[in-house]
């Protein structure tokens, strides 16, 4: 039999209806959006403050650069969002990014054509992601450790392939990298375009596919998801595959951004990605958060860097301190704004 039985009419609802109905909860603004809103407001505030503080800060050029300089981080953050939503974490993204740049550069240097190289360098990320997924789900190794090992591994592979940095001068790759759309003052590079597409995909997958919702369900409670008969295993592994792939793609974007491959790039970049995601309002315990929030998070980090450079005279140590302080102000504000919960 199916959902149709018993026909809603069949069940005698009337005697119980008046009382048995636990009364509707007051339609309160959905709490889940508050953190993201908080992030957004603070971001806006920062932009305004910056604009008033420094001349030609609030220019299209600066905003465009914000995206251009952080395209790779955006992609990483999207992947990281998936993993964190399941309640996991992926520490390897920085190294995987580096690995991907090195592979790209090395293969191009070896004279392979771009159409062959790109899938390979992204695929490397996918494979590592898959390995993580398997370790974490089937061997129940804790995500933190599994991906930490992955981090060492990827870095190690980088050194094996090429310790020194490799320039990329493959014409078609350079062409691809330097493709740019200019709308007046605004500039959009190919990597920004790709990043935005990834964001869009991430959003669609999370909110309009069963996989996406299962990701959230697992974050809400893996045991529950299991008992609800959801495909926990597949989803969890897939989440890490997504993250790995994003890291690979991120590496590609970074290679386009720097036109080189270098085994030491992306050191501690995983922290930036995680910070971005969390600032974007995603809980590390999993289950709540949005891709768009993560993007805002990246922009915030980028903006902090921009402010640093506009500040102009900060010594190395003040730079670090200011970054910390801005981060603090930011997190505190965002916390206050989203604290309307209970």
């Amino acid at each position: 039999m199916t959902t149709s039985a018993p026909a809603p009419g069949a069940a005698p609802t009337e005697p119980v209806a008046p009382r048995a109905r636990a009364r509707k909860l007051p339609a309160r603004l959905d709490r889940r959006y508050l953190p993201v809103l908080g992030t957004f407001v603070v971001l806006a505030l920062m932009l305004i403050v910056g604009g008033t503080r420094y001349e030609n800060f609030l220019t299209p050029a600066v905003i465009s650069n914000l995206f251009i300089n952080n395209a790779h981080l955006i992609v990483l953050a999207v992947g990281m969002t998936f993993v964190i939503l399941t309640g996991g974490i992926d520490l390897s993204v920085g190294s995987v990014l580096a690995l991907s740049t090195v592979i790209t550069a090395a293969l191009l240097q070896a004279g392979l054509p771009v159409p062959v190289v790109l899938p390979l360098s992204v695929g490397a990320g996918t494979v590592i992601g898959l390995a993580h997924g398997v370790m974490i789900h089937y061997f129940q190794v804790q995500p933190f450790v599994a991906t930490l090992a992955g981090m060492f591994l990827a870095r190690g592979l980088c050194f094996l392939i090429a310790p020194e940095s490799i320039a990329i001068d493959d014409p078609s790759f350079v062409a691809l990298a330097s493709w740019v759309q200019i709308f007046g003052e605004w500039r959009m590079t190919s990597s920004v375009l790709i990043a935005l597409i990834v964001v869009g995909l991430g959003f669609l997958v999370l909110h309009f596919t069963r996989f996406g919702r299962t990701v959230y369900a697992i974050g809400g409670g893996e045991q529950s998801a299991l008992l609800m008969g959801l495909p926990v295993a597949r989803t969890k592994v897939l989440a890490y595959v997504v993250s790995g792939t994003c890291a690979g793609l991120g590496g590609l974007l970074f290679a386009m951004f720097s036109r080189s491959g270098y085994s030491l790039t992306g050191v501690a970049m995983e922290l930036d990605a995680i910070a971005a995601v969390v600032i974007g309002g995603t809980l590390l315990t999993g289950g709540t958060g949005f891709v768009l929030g993560s993007v805002l998070g990246v922009l915030v980090l980028g903006l902090i860097q921009t402010i640093i450079t506009f500040e102009g005279t900060l010594s190395s140590w003040w730079t670090k301190i200011v970054i910390g302080v801005l981060l603090l102000i930011f997190v505190a504000l965002q916390r206050v704004l989203s604290l309307r919960r209970t």
């Binding site: 251009i68 720097s258 036109r259 085994s263 102009g312 005279t313």
Partner: protein
């Protein structure tokens, strides 16, 4: 594209021309070592208002993306000159082209960029890492050739340019001598790791005669380890390093280090000079090699009192 400079894009320059102040954006790698700190200090002390400079300084925290981002923002801010010490040699073409397009001259300090297009930067001021390695190697070769020395190497951070080049230089210099490089590990340019790695070496080999460290700090770490092992650094085990920062020179003077090849961090004056020339439209050499001297223990004793860093 030189005339592009006079176009509104480089409005900053014409402004500079008026008040004669040169706005220079400098993007430093980071502050990863004492050497770097000295380098930064030298630049900040030279490019002052008195000397007619308005220095915009930013620290890239060892991240290329930050550095590129900084350079981009200097371009948008319309500075007169951009100078930077690249985190890594490759991957600058794109952003340097932007600078070129905006008519802002670029000067490299300390580290080169490998780019097919030489016109992207005006000049590169800095030491030659390979040369430094060679100088160290040559000295070792002439001192100890024929004594069948067993040497170990404390490398800098794996993949970092100075580490790669100094290793290469040293290797080529002791090529064909009977000095044997029996082991080589990375000490990440730090004292602490220099010490632990040296301890490891001492566990692993009992016949080490000489340590070549890619910088003073690792050498100083090695000294600690050697002393802990009850041996005398400089006597039982000879030590050769690169950089010649104050602590290193002190150890050299105290006879704990045997030879130091200088890697001069005081690039400020040269940079100021070149920047002025470039803006004045004068010709400058593409490559300005900072003269690096080398010190043995005697030389160190003399140099020490007048040492700035």
């Amino acid at each position: 594209s030189s005339d592009a400079g006079t176009e509104p894009a480089g409005g900053g320059e014409t402004a500079a021309a008026d008040d004669g102040v040169i706005t220079l954006g400098f993007s430093q790698v980071g502050a990863e070592s004492g050497w770097r700190a000295a380098n930064t200090k030298s630049i900040q002390d030279t490019l002052t208002a008195e000397n007619g400079f308005d220095l915009k300084f930013s620290d890239a925290q060892q991240k290329q993306e930050n550095q590129i981002q900084a350079i981009r923002s200097y371009i948008t801010q319309g500075v007169d000159v951009i100078a930077f010490s690249p985190v890594v040699e490759t991957g600058w073409d794109a952003v340097l082209q932007e600078a070129k397009a905006a008519g802002i001259p670029v000067i490299l300090t300390d580290r080169a960029v490998d780019s097919s297009d030489e016109t992207l930067y005006e000049s590169f001021i800095g030491s030659d890492f390979v040369k430094e390695g060679e100088m160290a190697g040559e000295w070792v070769a002439e001192q100890y050739d024929g004594e069948g020395y067993k040497a170990v190497e404390l490398q800098g951070t794996t993949g970092a340019a100075p580490a790669i080049d100094r290793k290469e230089g040293f290797a080529s210099a002791i090529e064909g001598t009977d000095i044997e490089l029996i082991d080589s590990q990375t000490g990440n340019f730090t004292r602490a790791e220099g010490k632990t790695v040296m301890e490891g070496f001492l566990n692993a080999h009992d016949d080490i005669d000489l340590v070549f460290a890619h910088n003073d700090d690792m050498g100083l770490g090695a000294i600690e380890a050697i002393e802990a092992a009850g041996l005398t650094p400089g006597e039982d085990i000879k030590i050769v390093t690169i950089d010649a920062v104050k602590d290193g020179m002190q150890a050299l003077a105290d006879g704990k280090i045997n030879y130091i090849v200088e890697c001069n961090p005081l690039l400020g004056p040269d940079l100021a000079d070149i920047a002025k020339k470039v803006l004045a439209g004068e010709e400058v050499e593409k490559r300005i090699v900072v003269k690096d001297e080398a010190f043995d223990q005697a030389a160190a004793k003399e140099a020490l009192p007048t040492r700035e860093y």
